[in-house]
Structure formats: structure tokens, C-alpha cells
């Protein structure tokens, strides 16, 4: 988006003070309490550079446009989820309309571990706020190219999964090395599907990484890639658990580091993800991000136990990261020169088996994902998903997704497959998500009922 410096930064603060996963869970009522105290005490909402909005609910179709919720959207979401996603959508709307220059959805519950198919909560997430917002923008305004930069300490595996085959959405995630932290993914060879090679970029950083190294990665890897990709809209999945005091992460980033990161990225919209040092980090990091977005002086935002120079980068770590940056840049430069790995090609489809574990809800999901290799469009996607919930299994689901830029052949083929699956009755649930026409159909073989949204 074009930046207008005279415009305001939009802010939605939705701490969901009456929502928690469980009373002692990190994702509980108290999480944004001290952040509220800090931003209210600082008078942030009164600043002429800030415009506060009230969140509204995302619609059921906004969710269905992006996800396959099994069995239905209503079963996988609470109002709190719809409000968090709705907040991201509302701000995105205002940004695209030119009312505000950028925005920050300071909301919970978070979403970046929520994948395309949803059987339950994983990594504290049910639905993916950023993905829902991006698909809304593409559907509503026909926005072509979007970049999502995930700055949470955990790999944004949900967002990666949703845009894996999408050549028009660039997903960049830096995070603590997956060998040392949930969800155990996000390695550099995870580069996206055959038609979207290197539109997924993973930057696993060693535990203990400091501001200096992080900003090196931003300057020498993330910004050059963004410059090449030329996105129309930049989203920041703004997790704050890279902070040196976070109980779940082991990184050493400060509030100043986050401010500079935000300043350099210059996202159109930041959406809060994780961050669980609710007293020692969040009040300061959130302030820092807000001030950076609003173009205000953030140099005085400082944690009580931080002083410049507190964390020194080891030379080992910094040379390790330099090599990593070079390697990833190499992949980026190869992005249009790769052909699909023949081992995964079955006829006209590119196939992969995926196993997904839902840590919060203890669900194991198996997917057979098939992408139609089409010469005219990114191809439609079919996913057969089954999940076991400890004691039993839920019915199998067949999910068909037609991309925004689908060709007519792919679209009619997907519709045909949907009708066949309905007739065959081998899947309990059959879904057709047609992004090109913004319509969603769901079918429950148990009751024989079909429903639709959008269109």
C-alpha cells in the first residue's frame, strides 16, 4: 500500500478479558492486562497519530473462505475468535480504503498455528486471523500480491500450510530453530509447493539470538526479498515471544529490537500473535510496535531490566546466521527456475502426505494433499483428512479448494470431484471452497444436508 505519512495508525485493542483456553493457560484473561495498563497510562489512544477502532465479528463465510472447519465453522470458533479475526479485517479494510496509513490488531486469541483444515486447537490457535484477513482482501478488493512476515518465536506453520501452494502470497517466518521449540518445523528447505517455490521462506535462528543479528537478517534477507517480490500489502504476524524474558522462547530480543524491526518492515498491518512474558515484555514491546508504526519516537521505551549492550552476540552465532542468510538468498534467486520434484508426481497431481498434531486438543490428523498441476493456473487442491481424537476418530473429510485465479477447467473439475464425493459417500464431510467465485459449500453425508456461504 502507498504510505501517507499524514494519516493515522489504526489500532484495535481487544484483550478478550473474559476468554481463556483454561484458567492457568498462558493464553488466559490476564495476558494483555499489563499491556492495557501501559498503553492507557501512556495515553496512546489520545495521540493524534492514533485512531482507535472497536472490533466487530468476522462472518462465518470469512472463515470458510480460508479454512475447512470440521464439521462446521461454528464448531471450531467462539465469538472471541470471530472478534479477533474481525479486528484484522476491519483494520485491513480501512487501510485499503486509505482511511489510515497502517494498523495494529492487538488482539487475542492468536492464530498463526491454525492450518487450512481445522479439527481443533493447536499451538493456542483455532483460526488463522492473518490468513482470513488476507483472503478477505483478495476477495473483496482483488489485491494481487501479499507478503506475510511472521516474527513470532514459533514457526508460523499454520500460515505456511495455508499459503504453501500460493504463488501470490509470500510467507516469510523467522523463529527459534525448530529443533529447540514448538512446533518443530520451519527449516530452510521448507520452501513451498511446486508452483510457489520460495514463496515460503523459513529462517530458523539459533537460541540466544540478539537484536543485532536479527536486524542483520532483516536488512540482508527479508528486506531484499520483499523488494524483489513487490507486495501490494504487507502483514506482520507480530509475535512477541522472541523477547529475552519470554518463558516459552529462548531468544534475546528487546523492545528496542522489536521497534526497529517494525520500523524497517513497515508493515501495512501488524496482528498480534504470541508473547507470554505478560509483565516483563508485552507492555513494552506492544508500546514499541505501536510507536514505530505511528512514526513516533520509541527510543525511550525500555524494559526495567534492560540496558543497551546487555546482550552481546557470540561470533559463532553471528557467522552461523550469515551463512544461513546466504543459503536462503540462493533459494530465493532460484525461485522461478525449479521444477517439481518428480517423486511426488502422480499423473497430473502433485501429492504429499501430511501428519499434523494438535497439541492443545491432542488430535492427530492425517492428510493426503493433492495439487492439480495445471499449465494455466495455480491448480485446485484436494485434501482428504482424517483425525483421531484420543478415543475415537472423526469422520473423514474431503476438502476441495479452488484458487482465486483458477482457470475454468480446474474450477469445473473441482466442482465435479465435489459432486462425485457427495454421491460416493466415502467421506463423512465434503467441502468445496471456491475462492474464484467466493462461495463455499459443505455437505454432511451423515444427515444428507448441504449448506453454503458466500456467493
Amino acid at each position: 500500500m502507498k504510505k501517507h505519512q499524514d494519516k493515522q495508525t489504526g489500532l484495535i485493542f481487544f484483550p478478550a478479558f473474559d476468554w481463556a483456553i483454561s484458567p492457568t493457560h498462558p493464553e488466559r484473561e490476564e495476558r494483555l492486562l499489563y499491556t492495557r495498563d501501559q498503553i492507557f497510562e501512556e495515553g496512546i489512544m489520545d495521540l493524534p497519530q492514533i485512531l482507535e477502532f472497536t472490533a466487530s465479528l468476522a462472518s462465518i463465510h470469512d472463515i470458510a473462505r480460508t479454512h475447512f472447519c470440521v464439521p462446521r465453522v461454528e464448531d471450531q470458533t467462539t465469538e472471541a475468535h470471530l472478534i479477533a479475526a474481525g479486528a484484522a479485517i476491519l483494520l485491513a479494510d480501512r487501510i485499503v480504503n486509505g482511511e489510515i496509513k497502517n494498523g495494529f490488531a492487538l488482539v487475542r486469541p492468536p492464530g498463526h498455528h491454525a492450518m487450512r483444515v481445522i479439527h481443533g486447537n493447536r499451538g493456542f490457535c483455532n483460526i488463522n486471523n492473518e490468513a482470513i484477513m488476507v483472503e478477505y482482501l483478495r476477495s473483496r478488493y482483488g489485491i494481487k500480491r501479499v507478503a506475510i512476515v511472521d516474527t513470532d518465536v514459533h514457526h508460523g506453520d499454520g500460515t505456511q500450510n495455508i499459503f504453501w501452494h500460493d504463488p501470490d502470497v509470500l510467507f516469510i517466518s523467522f523463529h527459534q530453530d525448530g529443533r529447540t521449540i514448538y512446533p518443530g518445523t520451519g527449516f530452510i528447505h521448507e520452501l513451498g509447493g511446486p508452483r510457489a517455490f520460495a514463496r515460503t521462506i523459513n529462517i530458523p535462528l539459533p537460541p540466544g539470538t540478539t537484536d543485532e543479528t536479527l536486524l542483520y537478517v532483516v536488512d540482508n534477507l527479508i528486506l531484499p526479498i520483499l523488494e524483489d517480490f513487490k507486495p501490494d500489502f504487507i502483514v506482520n504476524s507480530a509475535g512477541q515471544d522472541n523477547h529475552f524474558s519470554d518463558p516459552l522462547g529462548s531468544m534475546r530480543i528487546s523492545a528496542q529490537g522489536y521497534a526497529k524491526l517494525t520500523d524497517k518492515l513497515c508493515p501495512d498491518l501488524a496482528v498480534l500473535e504470541g508473547g507470554y512474558a505478560i509483565e516483563t515484555a508485552l507492555p513494552y514491546v506492544n508500546m514499541a510496535i505501536i510507536l514505530a508504526l505511528a512514526g513516533l519516537d520509541y527510543t525511550k521505551v525500555q524494559e526495567p531490566d534492560y540496558w543497551p549492550g546487555r546482550f552481546k552476540e557470540s561470533s559463532d552465532r553471528s557467522s552461523q546466521v550469515r551463512k544461513l542468510v546466504e543459503q536462503i538468498l540462493h533459494y530465493w534467486h532460484m525461485r522461478d527456475k525449479m521444477s517439481p520434484d518428480s517423486r511426488y508426481i502422480r499423473g497430473k497431481f502433485y501429492e504429499r502426505n501430511i501428519r499434523i498434531f494438535y497439541d492443545t486438543d491432542y488430535i492427530e490428523e492425517h492428510q493426503l494433499e493433492r495439487l492439480k498441476l495445471c499449465d494455466h493456473c495455480p491448480g485446485y487442491l484436494s485434501i482428504e483428512s482424517s483425525a483421531s481424537h484420543g478415543l475415537g476418530r472423526s469422520g473423514k473429510a474431503m476438502c476441495l479448494s479452488v484458487p482465486f485465479t483458477a482457470c475454468t477447467n480446474c474450477r469445473s473439475e473441482a466442482i465435479e470431484v465435489y459432486h462425485q464425493a457427495k454421491k460416493r459417500g466415502t467421506h463423512r464431510y465434503v467441502y468445496l471452497q471456491d475462492k474464484s467465485q467466493d462461495i463455499f459449500f459443505g455437505y454432511d453425508a451423515g444427515s444428507g444436508k448441504e449448506w453454503q456461504s458466500g456467493g
Binding site: 485493542f13 481487544f14 484483550p15 478478550a16 478479558f17 473474559d18 476468554w19 484458567p23 492457568t24 488466559r28 484473561e29 490476564e30 492486562l33 499489563y34 492495557r36 495498563d37 501501559q38 492507557f40 497510562e41 501512556e42 495515553g43 489512544m45 489520545d46 482507535e52 477502532f53 472497536t54 472490533a55 466487530s56 465479528l57 467462539t78 465469538e79 472471541a80 472478534i83 509483565e279 507492555p283 513494552y284 508500546m287 510507536l291 513516533l296 519516537d297 527510543t299 525511550k300 521505551v301 525500555q302 524494559e303 526495567p304
Partner: protein, 557 residues
């Protein structure tokens, strides 16, 4: 018998109420000598009344707002303890600001100590420059008052005659910049406010009145005159509160209404939702300065009966200023009042001059005087109606931080448009039509503000915050901080303690409050979980004496 007196910039209005009936009204021009105006108004409404029978007198005034507008107040130095956060250059308040070391965090913990030597050196500078009024305001001071109090001690010791105001006592809400402004304005207006209070006292003494005397606050409550000196800034904006309460007393109970007070240069809007005036969720804005003063949600639109009209290109424009009275009353420029006169919607002014004003205004546009007048009225009506709609929209879109708050948001529209003020009668029918409401000009509309003052009730709040992990609690309004002696302190006990403190505080102000009638206006409890166990609770509770008016007006003279 009760008396309400509203001392405005132009008129001083008064009413005498007896058993919810209006016994007498007065409207006299406000003179330079306030005492004279108050006495004049008294003499009209108290004619033939035995002053021994007066129970209470309530004053409302726009004095302080006017003083602030004209920047007629004392020099005040501001000492800030901001700690980390926004850049210190942000803290610009149009007067000397000095930054002190030291910081308190959101839980009230000290994160950086004060520096006594630094404080003493700044005080020496201020003394050299001749300051003798100082505000001391710390970030998060309502969560821990010790820094502010320590600075005050140092000042008192060195400069015993200086006047000191502490932010934690004046602006107890979470909002540091607004706390600074509120404290600064309080400090700066103390002396002139004292003058106003003295005039009131003199007037009472001269007429030998010893009834209870109160001052109206911006939130529609009152405070006893003796205590008003403590918080003068609370009485700013009491003008709009007075007319809103007046309308509340004059319309049928339970109505959702818009109060439209059309004056000479501005129109003040206020909302009454299901019979209760709407409070602003944020503090009052005084001459573009944001404060923490609790206020009714009022909006001032720069359009009134005397607004100067202009013709620019092919359009008519309502100017935001007043060049003088209406043309038909001998003023220099055409005004909405002239338009009303031409259409016969008012009897005021010279019809020939009004016709002349409208003809001149419409001529370049080839409009007759009648058509021009209609167009002018339409513009004024359109402007006011759209501001009313915006007010409802703003109210609907107030931020919500809980799921249930988002879910219960609903659309409310008024059923009644109540007009008060000089310009009301000419416009109110059309504004109501535009909004799809019934128009209503209450009886006694010209003195609705004085009626509002007369029916206002004392209000008082107490806010308690307890932190059971750190084992302390604080009473915001009193800057009182103490250890929690009860190891099993909980929400129920917190509520009981808050009520007890309110009753005590009310007693200090001579108010009797029953525990049963206390309203809880804020209640927030968070469990603090550290390493998967509950280590304490944060409890925030605000209680208040009941809001409302003493009664509805049931007629009178």
C-alpha cells in the same frame, strides 16, 4: 425549597423549586461583578420567601471554562516523573516542564528511584524564576503515590509557602498526559475559582441564607461548596450538565432524547438514554486540552442563532464565529436568526431588517429572501442533525475489551428532540423531523439550566485497587495506600471495603449514604498466574453514590 443558579457568560439564571414545582424564575445579564448578578437573580426568585425555608442552593458556572479559554490564570511549574515510555518531548503543556528521575510501573513497583539532589536543584531554579505553584505528576502514580509524596515533602520543607498539587489525587485514572493536564488546570485555576466562591459566599451572607450550598460538576453531580476548592476543575463544563439535567427533569421518565441547546454561537448536544444522561467514557476536553474530568457526553457544535452567514461562490456558508447580534437586532451580518424572522419562526427583531439581510445574502444566487431563509434553516438543521447522528455513532463505537461487550452492542436512536436555549423554538421542529423524532420544547426551557442545577444531587466515588500478591491496596480518590492485613482478602471483602470507604468519605462531605443504595460502576478481578499457580489477585472496584435527580418537575408558575 431549593434554588438553582447558573452563572453563564451572558446570563445568570435562577429558579426556585418547591415540592418539584417551579415557584419563580429569573434571567439577568451577567455583570463584571459576579456578586451583583447573583444578588439580582436571588432577589427576583426569593421575593417574598423566608430564606430560613431554603434547604439547598446549587450553583453551576462556566466561569472556569471561560478562564481557561482566555488563559487568565497563574503560572504553574510542572514536575514530571515519566520514566520509560513516550519521548519526553511529547510532554508539552505550554508551561515550564521539568523531568525528574524515577519511575513506577503498572503494578506500582518502583523501577527507578528519585534523585533528591536533582529535585533540589530544579526547585532552586523555579524559586529563582519566581514560581510558587507546582504540580507533581508521576506516571502510574495512582498505583503508588510514594514518589509524588516524597517530592511534595521536599518542596514543603524548602518552600513552605508554595502551593503543591499531586497528580495521584487529582487524576486517578490511568492516563498520564491527561493526569498532567487535569492537575495543571486545577492548580492554575485555584485562585480565580476562589474568587468565584467568595462572591457566592458574600451573596449568601448579604441575604442571610444559611442553606446547604453545592456546586454542580461536569458529570451532573454536585459537591458541597466548602469542598469545591479542592477540585475546581471538576466544575468546568457544568454549563451543559446543567441544561441536560434540566431536560431530564422536564421530560417524561425513561425517554431516550437528544438535548439540543441552541445558543448564540454554539449548539450544545447531550444524550439522555432511557432517562439517564450519558456519561463520556473519557474525560472532558477543555479548550482542546484532554483531561480526566468525569463529564456528561456533550458536544459543542459551532453553529448558533448569531453565526455569521456568508455567500461564497454558489454556496451559502455558516461561519464559525459571531460578528455581533443578528442583523434584525442591529448586528452587522445576516444570521440564522434573520432567517427565522423572515419565515415567521421567531418574533424577535425587526422583520424589515431581517428581510433585507436575507435578500442581500440570496441576491447573487438569484434567490428570494424567503428561499434564502429556507435554505439557511435547512443548512443549520442538517448540520445539527448530522452531529446528533455522529454522537450516537460514537457511542455505539466505543471500544469494547470483553467478548460480551462486543456482543451486546446495539443501535439506539432517540425518540425525542428536546430544545432549550434561545434559538431552540425556531429550529427544533425541523431537527426533530430530520431525525424522525418528536420535537419537544419543555416548559421553562429558557431556564432549564438553572432547573438542572436545582435538581442535581451530590455524587461521590471511591475506587479501590488491591494487589494481593504485593499485599497492598490503594484508595485512588484519597491517595491512601496501606498493607492488606487480611491474608484471605478477596473480591467480596474488597467490595465491602470500598463501600465502607465511600460512606466515610461521604460523611466527611456531610453526605449520608446508605450501603444499600451504593452503585458499583466498575468491577474487575484478574487472577495472577505465575508458573501455573495462582500467586495473587488484582481487584479494581469503583463504587458511587446513586446518580440521578431529586425529582421531576411537575409544573409551577
Amino acid at each position: 425549597m431549593n434554588v438553582g443558579v447558573d452563572v453563564g457568560g451572558t446570563f445568570t439564571d435562577a429558579v426556585l423549586l418547591e415540592d418539584n414545582k417551579v415557584r419563580a424564575t429569573a434571567k439577568v445579564p451577567t455583570k463584571k461583578d459576579l456578586l451583583e448578578s447573583v444578588l439580582e437573580a436571588f432577589d427576583i426568585v426569593l421575593k417574598g420567601v423566608n430564606t430560613k425555608e431554603l434547604e439547598r442552593i446549587v450553583f453551576s458556572t462556566t466561569m472556569i471554562t471561560n478562564l481557561i479559554a482566555e488563559r487568565k490564570y497563574d503560572n504553574v511549574a510542572i514536575l514530571l516523573i515519566p520514566g520509560p515510555g513516550l519521548a519526553h518531548e511529547t510532554y508539552y503543556f505550554g508551561t515550564a516542564v521539568h523531568i525528574l528521575s524515577g519511575a513506577i510501573d503498572y503494578r506500582g513497583r518502583e523501577i527507578a528511584p528519585l534523585n533528591d539532589r536533582e529535585i533540589e536543584s530544579i526547585l532552586a531554579d523555579l524559586s529563582r524564576l519566581g514560581y510558587h505553584r507546582v504540580c507533581v505528576v508521576g506516571k502510574f502514580s495512582p498505583r503508588n503515590t510514594t514518589h509524588e509524596k516524597r517530592v511534595a515533602e521536599i518542596i514543603k520543607k524548602k518552600y513552605p509557602d508554595w502551593k503543591i498539587d499531586l497528580g495521584s489525587l487529582i487524576g486517578g485514572q490511568l492516563n498520564f498526559p491527561r493526569r498532567v493536564t487535569t492537575t495543571y488546570l486545577t492548580s492554575a485555576t485555584r485562585e480565580p475559582y476562589q474568587h468565584f466562591i467568595n462572591s457566592v459566599r458574600q451573596a449568601l451572607a448579604v441575604r442571610k441564607i444559611d442553606a446547604d450550598v453545592f456546586i454542580l460538576k461536569a458529570d451532573g453531580g454536585t459537591m458541597p461548596l466548602e469542598n469545591a476548592e479542592e477540585l475546581p476543575v471538576e466544575t468546568i463544563f457544568s454549563g451543559p450538565a446543567a441544561s441536560t439535567l434540566g431536560v431530564q427533569a422536564l421530560i417524561p421518565p425513561g425517554e431516550t432524547a437528544v438535548v439540543v441547546d441552541i445558543g448564540g454561537t454554539t449548539t450544545d448536544l447531550a444524550l439522555i438514554l432511557s432517562g439517564q444522561p450519558l456519561l463520556s467514557s473519557k474525560g472532558a476536553k477543555v479548550e482542546n486540552q484532554l483531561t480526566q474530568v468525569r463529564t456528561l457526553a456533550v458536544k459543542s457544535v459551532p453553529v448558533g442563532g448569531d453565526s455569521a452567514l456568508q455567500q461564497v461562490g454558489n454556496a451559502l456558508v455558516i461561519g464559525s464565529g459571531r460578528l455581533g447580534p443578528a442583523y434584525c437586532m442591529g448586528g452587522p451580518a445576516p444570521t440564522p436568526t434573520d432567517a427565522l424572522r423572515v419565515l415567521g419562526l421567531t418574533e424577535l427583531g425587526d422583520p424589515v431588517k431581517a428581510e433585507e439581510a436575507m435578500t442581500g445574502l440570496g441576491k447573487p444566487l438569484n434567490l428570494s429572501a424567503q428561499d434564502t431563509a429556507r435554505k439557511v434553516i435547512e443548512m443549520v438543521v442538517e448540520r445539527i442533525a448530522s452531529e446528533v447522528n455522529n454522537m450516537f455513532l460514537d457511542w455505539e463505537q466505543e471500544p469494547a475489551y470483553r467478548v460480551w461487550e462486543v456482543l451486546q452492542k446495539k443501535k439506539v436512536r432517540p425518540s425525542l428532540v428536546a430544545g432549550v436555549g434561545g434559538g431552540a423554538s425556531g429550529f427544533i421542529n425541523q431537527i426533530a423531523a430530520k431525525l424522525g423524532c418528536d420535537p419537544y420544547i419543555p416548559p421553562y426551557a429558557p431556564v432549564a439550566n438553572a432547573i438542572g442545577a436545582a435538581v442535581a444531587r451530590p455524587t461521590m466515588q471511591v475506587s479501590l485497587r488491591a494487589d494481593t500478591e504485593q499485599n497492598y491496596y490503594i484508595i485512588r480518590e484519597e491517595g491512601f495506600q496501606d498493607r492488606l492485613k487480611d491474608r484471605h482478602f478477596n473480591e467480596t471483602k474488597a467490595l465491602a471495603l470500598a463501600k465502607e470507604k465511600l460512606i466515610q468519605r461521604a460523611a466527611k462531605y456531610g453526605l449520608v449514604v446508605e450501603a444499600g443504595e451504593i452503585e458499583i460502576i466498575h468491577r474487575e478481578v484478574f487472577n495472577m498466574i505465575r508458573d501455573w499457580t495462582t500467586t495473587g489477585r488484582l481487584i479494581d472496584i469503583t463504587v458511587q453514590t446513586p446518580r440521578g435527580i431529586t425529582g421531576r418537575i411537575e409544573g409551577g408558575v
